[in-house]
């Protein structure tokens, strides 16, 4: 059924998008631990890996989160690509002249912006989770890797660019998901769009404050 139903497929995009957003909220708040100092931040990293011990073996909770996120990312990507191809088939030859009347920049950058965010996520994991792409290497503590990375203006620039794109993705995505899940109406439209904007700015601001604090030597 979902195979031929574009609306059901879009609902997959929306639900997986919302799950990723919930994760991002937790992730952003967790990152702010960096302001509590090296011990606190490394301790937080340790804590994520030991939740539930000794009732469950080490890393159980983290592994579950990772499996859920990976599934969700793949499902989001699969549904998006299949809708992208459907749209391409629906108008293979474009207009000679086409002008937008209403469309926002955020809505226009969902697809390529999403692809860039996807590539960024891979780089981000290699950088700060696995450490293999980090100047400090895989042996440093999480705190050292973070400081080493963001002290480099080039790396910080990559993060800023990706996060701004993610912010735009969410600005349109939150509104779009509300529509897709059938929860919008004329009365709510303004509120949903305002919420999407404020939420995206706060979330991305919360993420960006960390690399900027390192870059400007407030954390180090």
């Amino acid at each position: 059924m979902a195979k031929t139903n574009s609306v059901a497929k879009k609902a997959v995009v929306a639900v997986t998008g919302i799950i990723m957003i919930l994760y991002l909220i937790a992730h952003m708040i967790g990152n702010l631990k960096v302001f509590a100092g090296r011990e606190s931040f490394n301790g937080y990293s340790e804590w994520i890996r030991t939740i539930g011990e000794p009732a469950v073996p080490a890393q159980t909770t983290l592994t579950i989160i990772r499996i859920v996120l990976l599934t969700v990312v793949i499902a989001h990507f699969w549904a998006v690509i299949s809708l992208w191809r459907q749209a391409k088939r629906a108008r293979p030859n474009g207009y000679v002249t086409k002008k937008a009347v209403a469309q926002s920049y955020a809505s226009r950058t969902m697809r390529w912006g999403g692809v860039i965010v996807g590539l960024f996520i891979i780089y981000h994991i290699l950088d700060l989770t696995m450490g293999v792409a980090n100047p400090e290497g895989p042996d440093g503590t999480p705190y050292d890797r973070l400081v080493a990375g963001f002290s480099n203006p080039f790396i910080t620039a990559v993060y800023v660019l990706a996060l701004v794109l993610l912010g735009m993705h969410l600005r349109h995505g939150i509104w779009s998901a509300t529509q897709t899940l059938g929860q919008s109406n004329k009365r709510r439209e303004k509120t949903v769009n305002l919420f999407a904007l404020v939420f995206s700015v706060v979330l991305i601001g919360g993420f960006l404050i960390v690399p900027f604090s390192v870059l400007f030597g407030l954390v180090g």
Binding site: S6, V7, Y95, A100, A102, Q103, S176, G182, Q183
Partner: protein, 279 residues
Amino acid sequence: MTATAEGTTFASGTASDPAMAKHDMTLTLRIWRQKGPRDKGRMVTYQVEDISPDMSFLEMLDVLNEKLILAGDDPVVFDHDCREGICGSCGLMINGTAHGRGTSGGPTTTCQLHMRKFKDGDTIDIEPWRATAFPVIKDLSVDRSALDRIIQSGGYISAPTGTAPEAHSILVPKKDSDAAFDAATCIGCGACVAACPNASSMLFTAAKVSHLGLVPQGQPERNDRVVNMVAQQDREGFGGCTNIGECSAACPKGISMENISRLNHDLLGALRAGARPKS
């Protein structure tokens, strides 16, 4: 002089006030010419003179066609019927926007777009709706029967026939009847599809789903209707909706995005309730 009808004000204005007189225009038109469904098609440039600002866009094309016919050329084929904004057949992409929405300053159909919105010396690009589901028949004329098949796939509603029923026997809340009526004003012009970056027909289908789904008479088949109409729109080769909003902005009837949300709500509910499209 105080007449409010635009035509009256303008006519009396021209007579007494030379500043208000608008002069006839000379325009350059770049028009999509395509001999038939299999022809590749191309933009062809024409000049038209003596275009009065009072003419409608279609009357301007009539002037061009008279000129072409007199010169022994093939006239430009375009669809039109009522020329009063109610039949939905006159859709054209004008300077990159459906029904010339980027020039009109408000919701309009091509037949209700007037030449006073353009300036002497303007170049105007005119193209057909472009979508796989709307194959070009010739020049600017496309086959929009895919929209009819979406309506058809929605099936029937169970309503008693025979003598007119007592009007008060089924009560409809005012709010619902207003919203249903707004949705029912869709004229099936296809501008939503033409304007959509995904070539999606969601706004059209959502209008059709809403106008029956909001009233009591539409309830018995509500679930089946939405799953079948969505399945048909996918089958016709339209794209999926990403809630960009170009459709609603281009719609001559101002059909709102909330109808799309309602369609999604109905569809997800119907699938959960076990409704499946007829194959």
